[in-house]
């Protein structure tokens, strides 16, 4: 079980929110319309099946994932139900004529959106904790929720039972709000390292 004090939990939450705030402002600028991003909840689960996402196992989701290496290692993912991902891309791109599925170009745009958000989260953590993190290029996947974490190339998370840090993210756009998730899939060792780094950071800043 991952045990975090309220302060540690709040600190991680704060770091993430700084990150997504930055991501939102760059997105707003890029699409020339107000985009707000909030992370109303962060939760930790030890099994993917315990997460809210797994409630609809056959729902098709679109995910942009980036693996990261550093003091803690794992995979970060921005996940949307496919329908929501279509909505998001189309509101961002102001598309007049929607097609039934994501086109190549829309898929790449979603990848960029994921890339900006994930970079921002990881960058914010890395920056504040003072530890560099290496990230891979984002990849795109579309599959049923229950297979979301299968056959991953990020060895660390696949090898052992992963622990998940799940951020519920909310896009607030002009027309509608779109809910998605950011998943940090790490092994137990990595998550303990993260907690350790957070504690160290707190100790430094409270001194």
């Amino acid at each position: 079980m991952i045990e975090l004090t309220e302060l540690e939990h709040d600190t991680i939450s704060e770091l993430i929110n700084i990150g997504v705030g930055r991501a939102a402002s760059s997105l707003s600028e890029m699409v020339d319309q107000p985009v707000e991003l909030t992370v109303p909840a962060i939760s930790f689960v030890e099994r993917f099946s315990d997460s809210e996402l797994a409630n609809a196992p056959t729902e098709v989701v679109s995910a942009v994932s980036q693996s990261f290496h550093g003091p803690f290692t794992g995979e970060a993912m921005l996940v949307f139900p496919e329908v929501r991902s279509l909505e998001l891309v189309r509101s961002l791109l102001k598309v007049d004529v929607p097609l039934d599925t994501l086109t190549d170009l829309e898929q790449e745009a979603l990848m960029e959106v994921g890339n900006i958000i994930l970079n921002a989260c990881l960058g914010s953590i890395s920056n504040v904790l003072g530890e560099p993190i290496n990230c891979s290029m984002p990849t795109f996947r579309k599959r049923e929720t229950r297979a979301l974490l299968d056959d991953d190339t990020a060895g660390a998370s696949a090898a052992t039972n992963p622990v998940l840090m799940i951020l519920h993210v909310q896009f607030m756009l002009r027309q509608n709000d779109i809910d998605g998730y950011v998943l940090f899939v790490m092994d137990l060792e990595s998550i303990q390292m993260l907690r350790e780094l957070v504690r160290r950071f707190l100790a430094n800043s409270l001194r």
Partner: protein
Amino acid sequence: MTKSQSAKGDQPPSFDLNRDSDAADLFAALLDTADTGLIALAPDGTICHWNQWMQSRSGKDADQVMGKALHDVFPDTKLGRVSLAIEDCLKFGMPAVISPSLNQGALPLRPLPQFAASFDRMEQSIRVHPIQTKRNGTLCSLIIRDVTLAVQRDRLLRQQAAELADLVTQTKRSEDRTRAILQNTIDAILVASDDGSIEPLNSRAQELCGPTGDPELRNIIRFLLPDSEHTPLTPPPPNRLLTDLGTGVIEVLASTLSGRNVPLEVAISHFSADQRYHYIITLRDISQRKRHEKEIQRTMQELERSNAELEQFAYAASHDLQEPLRMVSSYTQLLARRYEGQLDETADEFIHYAVDGTQRMQRMIDDLLTLSRVGRHGKPFNPVPLDNLFDAIVTNFRRAGSTPEGNIIREGHLPTVMGDASQLLLLFQNLVSNGLKYSDPKNGQVRIFASETSDSYRIFVADNGIGIDPQYHETIFEIFKRLHGYGDYAGTGIGLAICKKIVDRHGGNIDVTSKPGQGSTFCVELPKELSIVAASESM
């Protein structure tokens, strides 16, 4: 690598990647022949590689850009997504995807000539990678792909999708409209194919052919279709076909299971579709019309009956009146002859009035008999040359010596009309006689002339007499209408009534134009083609 190392001792390889110069040659060639743009940036953000592709698409040679920051080469990228991505890459080692949809023409590169018309800039998909080196720290690479073609395809696809969606909407709208028209039309519409199937198209048709409709109706329709060789047919019961099939108007009787008898008019048209012949059958409910037809028929019969009765009555009355009148007339005339001058003057005067009265009454009865005969004893219609007819009239007048020579003038040729010669003679004789009667006896003149319209002849009888006040133009044709006292102008007041009756029987029309003191012109208009009623009466 391992293989080339083991081969090294035996024979110097022609090419060795461990040799710096060989590796440099290879990598330089690879970079320059790549079909993507490649830029490498040093940790301080200055350009340290700019491949051949970049040179040709940006129009800037490597020499021009080496050692400069990207935003110095392309000033408009200074605050954009590319610069931020480069900064994140160099500072935090973050990779980046820069998509064409979110960043149109991220770098100011030229599109290939074939796209120049629709694109100002090349559409690009860019990857920003951190490159960790042992000696120089973190470098940054930009890989730029030209995706203009994909963007163009995407635009085209969307345009076509939009057009398709428009078309679908339009088609749907027009279909809805057609369906609404079809459904709300009062007639029942069905379509029959040459395989004998009959499909109701609207709710009215469904009503007539559906489960509560007439089970026989489809058979009747099949029987009526021009081409029904494919299926053997049983003729419908004779009481279900209301009109003869030869007349062009087809009327059938539908007898629905809900217990209604509906007379229907059937119209059949056809069209070809899918290389097959189809018929459109329109069934119109003519119950209302049928009711009216019956009503009219009944009224007509009633009228004919009462007319016949009336004529019979008039004839009988005038005929029977003659007998006692003749008695009175004979004896008063006898009185006048035998006792004239033997009684006093007053008695002579009284006897004269009595004789005159019986004579007038005799004329009136004669006229009434004539009037009643117009309807009862008409002869069949024949061609009547009016020139000959008027010759006879003039001769009659001359023989009677009632008119001076040359006062009946014919202007031009008169037509030949269809009619009852003796009645037409009576008609025009009356008109001419009237014209002369109401004129100055010395200078009275009657002109006769004719004109023609597309479907009728008009014969005019004009005099230069006293004329008629317009308020009497209608009533003068009524029986016993007289505008003057008997003493002024002789007559029974039946002459014009006889004229009108004759003209009516010929399916024509009579009217007068006149002003007091300026003469009158009577116009008789006779149709060139006899109407069905007049023709049947003329038989």
